[in-house]
Amino acid sequence: MTTVVFIILLAIFATSLYGAGGTTMDPCLESMKTASLPDLPYAYDALEPAISEEIMRLHHQKHHQTYVTQYNKALNSLRSAMADGDHSSVVKLQSLIKFNGGGHVNHAIFWKNLAPVHEGGGKPPHDPLSSAIDAHFGSLEGLIQKMNAEGTAVQGSGWVWLGLDRELKRLVVETTANQDPLVTKGTHFVPLIGIDVWEHAYYPQYKNARAEYLKNIWSVINWKYAADVFEKHSRDLDTN
């Protein structure tokens, strides 16, 4: 009887030790939140006919989910490497973190960049973004043409972006390779619209016709989101 009590007490004692952490890791890192797949703000078929339901399901549930999973795995490895003081592993993990973390960050923005037509998808932006676009690109059509040309020209996998350069206070069109976020092109760049030109973003529906995909996607681009982000940053810039 006393043996059983002793074992139970031992078990409780052991569990309390485990709960206390038992490591010397920085508590900030330990409690660092893992990434999780955000829900789509609309149904999978809501962007048809511009983007098919099949693509939206694969893109969100498979591709984005894989980036999230692999990113969390890499973060976990990073935690261990840092706790062990394994500096070469810490450095080696950076490319996996950049690729998968970038994939997560980029796609999280992308879902917000899109909206069904009946929820404003395709509707031109409001001011001040609208005026800024006219000032920098001549017109909204001019901007779209430029982004389409640059998006089509991306070799291999990547993204085409409309961004705000907070430092120079102007709009920019940039492309990034693979899952590099826009900030890799300029630390002061804020993404407003990102369009995924990896083949997985359009292949089942458009096959090799990337230009066609780019032409059609504008009918579901959520300009309201871009205009809101632009307005917020413009306000911040003005008050600086």
Partner: protein, 279 residues
């Protein structure tokens, strides 16, 4: 007056020919490139060229290899050595129709347009690839030229009823350089699976050794100084219709059911011949 010489060993599937082109660039530098893919043949070519106004082309046959065939200055879209539905169910007819019929065709057509009325026009594909690779600082025509080459090489890396384990000398070398065929299989699979974004995985030969290499976008072992023996295309367009996001399944299917070890063996023979002929 000296001229710049670039000697290029062309790996044209089963054949290896040496092409020396001598162009008058009025440079005062004799430039022998010693990388593995570019060999020099001092004894057969005069060193100085005087007042050349047009390119000279000297064709040398290496050993007993047959005359060069396919990859000519015409940049042809060669069909795969099998019908477009012959690789089913492992690679669908639809994939071949798009991958060969649209993607590969576009690389060839766009290359022709791109080199038209430039100094690259009429040059062999290998020459264009090396020139436009430009030591990693890629020139515009590289993508189309290398992709045209890569895809022809890819179709010929596969055959109906292919896959499985090789035999003979090739197996012996794989076992020598990777410890076992299984270890090679793992390494090749891992390279193909972990190439970020678009690219290729290769079995290549250099310095009498076999190795697995992965490359981004259009880069291939020719520009990295080794002989390509086998490749798998891991651009998403290569597998998306049949496998969607499941690249690992595509790679396994390729290894188990599609690889043409005959083609790999023939390329290995050519690579060994080309290597030793310059020794």
């Amino acid at each position: 007056m000296y001229c710049k010489k670039i000697m290029i060993v062309q790996m044209i599937r089963r054949t290896a020919t040496c092409t020396a082109t001598c162009t008058a660039t009025c440079t005062t530098q004799l430039n022998y490139q010693k990388s593995k893919a570019i060999k020099t043949h001092n004894t057969q070519i005069p060193l100085a060229c005087a007042l050349l106004t047009c390119p000279l082309k000297l064709e040398l046959q290496s050993r007993s290899m047959a005359a060069s065939t396919a990859v000519t200055a015409n940049y042809v879209l060669k069909p795969p050595p099998y019908a477009l539905d012959a690789l089913e169910p492992h690679m669908s007819k639809q994939t071949l129709e798009f991958h060969w019929g649209k993607h590969h065709r576009a690389y060839v057509e766009n290359l022709k347009k791109q080199v038209l009325e430039t100094e690259l026009e009429g040059k062999p594909l290998d020459h264009i690839i090396h020139k436009t690779y430009n030591n990693g600082d890629l020139l515009p025509a590289f993508n189309n030229a290398a992709q045209a080459w890569n895809h022809e090489f890819f179709w010929e890396s596969m055959k109906p009823g292919g896959g499985g384990k090789p035999s003979g000398e090739l197996l012996a070398l794989l076992e020598r350089d990777f410890t076992s065929y299984e270890k090679f299989y793992e390494e090749f699979n891992a390279a193909a699976a972990t190439q970020f974004g678009a690219g290729w995985a290769w079995l290549a030969y250099a310095n009498d050794k076999l190795k697995v290499v992965k490359t981004p976008n259009a880069v291939n072992p020719l520009v990295l100084g080794s002989f390509p023996l086998l490749t798998i295309d891991v651009w998403e367009h290569a597998y998306y219709l049949d496998f969607q996001n499941r690249r690992p399944d595509y790679i396994k299917t390729f290894m188990n059911n599609l690889v043409s070890w005959e083609a790999v063996s023939a390329r290995l023979e050519a690579a060994k011949a080309a290597s030793s002929s310059s020794a």
